[in-house]
């Protein structure tokens, strides 16, 4: 439905249930006599009495002309609206109408603030958005029978990851779209495995189902863009037999604004923003992209993080993973997507010297996937605050910590060659090497999250890296 045009002349929007509108009723009668006035009333087509009033009880005019306060007086020319004033101010009304003596004979106050317009009433706004903007959405509408349980329906048609979903009604999706300035039909990414165009609208539908709030949507959109491209290779990540999925690591002041918490239980349950943002990406791949377990998803075991794995990093002098691997400033809201499996705890409660802790962490990193495999997989090491403090108290920054870990992860070739230690698994023989690093350059990434107590860090092991598999992707959040 298009926006109704306002008639040329003066337009007043009022509601009966507004003391200020009742105060200005005689002014409107005077204006009707002296000018070309059209009055729209939001709640009573008989108000003000004695005037020919245009019914706006469906609030179409109020909605489309962004009426936030009643009364609103608008001067309309042949080219549309010229100016408006809200509430009652004799000075402003005289200026807009050009009548210097307007209301000169009336015994009313010279000004009075207006009341809230029904078109912005919080109880009505979702319904109004559907009524007046719903037709802009393009997704197919699915009508359920009156007695059908919508939660069971969504399971039955295969939309669910196994947990209940929020029904993606028009009003919820339209409310979700308020979280971005991007237009619903804008293309965000091409989603594997079926290579389907994901519009902002389709992403918003997934975000609703996942349990997001509108302020989470820009993060979801950015995560979708970061994951669905050849570099990150979401297709391969889905199709692999390894237990990996997209891990979304968020940084920047916006993480706090949307309620993410890099502190206690940062990688765990209980945070709506983190859980629902990660889940929205996975639901999009499932429902729009067509990637489902047993279909293109061939994971041997999978891991619980494939429902959702998203967390925020601490801010501070250590910097963020995103800024360390891009030219984005620390103050920029950003996400890094990493192809990773479930997190695993590394315990060291006794190291107080950085050398001891570095060796301790390195010994555990060496075991990642298999202690005789090297170079093929990247990792994100999430340093807990108490572990990080051991390093920073000694003056070690991010690059020093990485160098110290890497120097301890040069694996003797003879130890990891196939057959060594009586284990068939390992690196092919005949490469003529002395050592091989566990990680490729840049393949060991550091993040900082977790509660203030606990001498622990978390290892998130990666999938096949580089051109063969997946490269981490960092993107600034687009609002």
């Amino acid at each position: 439905m298009g926006a109704p045009r306002l008639p040329v002349g003066l337009v007043a929007v009022v509601k009966h249930d507004c003391a200020t509108c009742q105060t200005v009723a005689p002014v409107l009668l005077e204006l009707a006599r002296r000018t070309d006035l059209t009055v729209y009333c939001q709640d009573d087509p008989e108000f003000p009495a004695g005037l020919e009033v245009t019914d706006d009880t469906d609030l179409a005019v109020s909605w489309h002309h962004s009426i936030e306060t009643v009364p609103t007086l608008i001067a309309v020319g042949s080219d549309g609206e010229r100016e408006r004033t809200v509430g009652w101010s004799i000075e402003q009304w005289r200026r807009i109408t050009g009548l210097d003596d307007l209301a000169g004979d009336l015994d009313i106050p010279s000004q009075r603030p207006g009341c809230g317009s029904l078109s912005v009433d919080p109880d009505l706004i979702d319904e109004l958005r559907v009524r007046h903007s719903g037709s802009t959405l393009r997704a197919r509408r699915l009508d359920l029978a009156e007695m059908e349980d919508e939660f069971e329906y969504m399971h039955r048609v295969g939309w669910s990851d196994g947990l209940p979903l929020v029904p993606p009604t028009e009003s919820r999706v339209l409310a979700m779209l308020e979280g971005t300035t991007r237009s619903p039909e804008e293309l965000v990414a091409v989603v594997p495995p079926d290579l389907v165009d994901a519009t902002v609208e389709k992403v918003a539908i997934s975000a609703v189902m996942a349990g997001c709030r509108p302020e989470h949507l820009p993060w979801v959109l950015t995560a979708v863009e970061a994951a669905c491209n050849d570099e990150f290779n979401m297709h391969g990540l889905l199709a692999t037999t390894m237990p990996v999925g997209p891990v979304i690591i968020c940084s920047g002041p916006g993480t706090r604004d949307i309620g993410m918490d890099p502190g206690v239980n940062a990688l765990g349950q209980g945070n709506r923003a983190s859980l629902s943002i990660g889940r929205a990406l996975q639901l999009l791949v499932r429902n729009l992209g067509g990637g489902r377990p047993g279909g293109v998803d061939r994971a041997t075991h999978g891991n619980p993080g494939k429902i959702s794995f998203c967390f925020a990093e601490h801010s501070g002098p250590f910097g963020s993973l995103s800024s360390s691997r891009s030219d984005l400033d620390e103050s920029v809201d950003a996400v890094t997507v990493f192809a990773g499996e479930g997190p695993r705890c590394i315990v060291d409660q006794l190291s107080r010297e950085p050398e001891s802790l570095a060796t301790s962490l390195a010994e555990n990193l060496r075991m990642m996937h298999h202690h005789k495999l090297a170079m093929a997989f990247d990792a994100v090491l999430v340093l807990g605050p108490e572990h990080l403090r051991v390093f920073t108290d000694a003056g070690w920054d991010r690059s020093r910590i990485t160098e110290e870990l890497m120097s301890r992860l040069q694996l003797p070739y003879d130890d990891i060659v196939r057959g060594a230690s009586g284990i068939a698994e390992g690196i092919p023989a005949g490469l003529g090497l002395d050592t091989l690093p566990k990680f490729q350059p840049g393949g060991l990434m550091l993040a900082h999250a977790g509660g203030g107590a606990g001498l622990f860090s978390m290892l998130i092991a990666g999938w096949v890296n580089g051109d063969t598999g997946s490269k981490p992707v960092t993107r600034a959040v687009q609002y």
Partner: protein, 93 residues
Amino acid sequence: MTRESLLDPTAESTPSERVQLARPVSLDGLTVALLDISKPRGDVFLDRLSEHLERRGAAVRRYRKPTFSKPAPVDLRHEIADQCHVVIEALAD
């Protein structure tokens, strides 16, 4: 109160159905593509297969995906379709 419609989260597409080509009765005079997906030791299997096929009178052409983790590039798929009558893809794991 009227119940609100749900918006469809899927691609809303109906898969197009294609009838599979009939399997050839014989490989005599046909060209068979062997597509290696670049998984370790896939070539061992394909080498052996190639010997068997050639013994049965088929001409064999070998192809290789750049990486097992991504779909075969469209040019490669086109090349195979253009040059061969039959394709065998070696999966792994």
